[in-house]
């Protein structure tokens, strides 16, 4: 299943291989975050989502996020996978697995990862409703000089 620790996949994401990858005898805590396709958002029913990625750059950015995490929280081990293509209700879109000797770092690093993914990884989500469809994305301004790689 899992081919590398930071990857974009098209097949359904299974959780166990990523946990097995991050777990080793020095670790006492594992946190796993999975982001799922939600059917209802503010009363609007989603039929399915369509995800697209700039795959090589996205995998590179995921690995960079992993490196940032391991620098900020020494001793952790990380795997991140994001699925693209057509995803249906309750499917896993993204999975972040973090192991750590102690639990605090495992929680903090995991939440850091999803925040960073939503900031810098070139992946796009289109929501398809009964009444239409829309690419989702924060309408950010083009970053000022020096902000792009922050």
């Amino acid at each position: 299943m899992m081919k590398k620790p930071f990857e974009i996949v098209t097949e359904p994401i299974e959780i166990q291989p990523y946990i097995d990858y991050v777990l080793h005898p020095y670790q006492g805590a594992v946190t796993v975050f999975t982001g799922h396709v939600r059917e209802w958002t503010h009363g609007v029913r989603t039929l399915y989502l369509s995800y697209e990625a700039y795959v090589p750059m996205a995998e590179k950015k995921l690995a960079e996020i992993g490196a940032e995490m391991e620098e900020k929280w020494p001793g952790i081990k990380v795997a991140i996978v994001h699925r693209i293509g057509e995803l249906h209700i309750s499917d896993i879109a993204v999975l972040i697995a973090v192991s750590s000797p102690h639990r605090k770092a495992a929680y903090e690093a995991n939440e850091y990862a999803i925040d960073r993914i939503k900031e810098v990884v070139p992946i796009w989500k289109k929501e398809i409703w009964e009444t239409g469809e829309q690419w989702i994305g924060a309408q950010k301004k083009y970053p000022e000089q020096g902000e792009v790689n922050k």
């Binding site: 697209e52 700039y54 939503k118 690419w135 301004k141 083009y142 792009v148």
Partner: protein, 77 residues
Amino acid sequence: MIKVIYFAVAREMVGKGEETLKVENLTVKQLLEWIGSSYPAFDQTGMQVAINEEYAMLDDTVKAGDVCAIIPPVSGG
């Protein structure tokens, strides 16, 4: 020559996934302006540009052989 790849809403705005431009040594800002003038539907609000899979700044230069990606606001997760 440079290669330009359009993703997500950018692809829909320009009506194509990629193209090759016979230009070089232009800035990211100039590239975005060229796209804007070539495709009236293209709105550069929130767009970023990656050169060879790395985010670039507006005054970075695109050289011959570079691959540029037009990156709308990301929405992974």
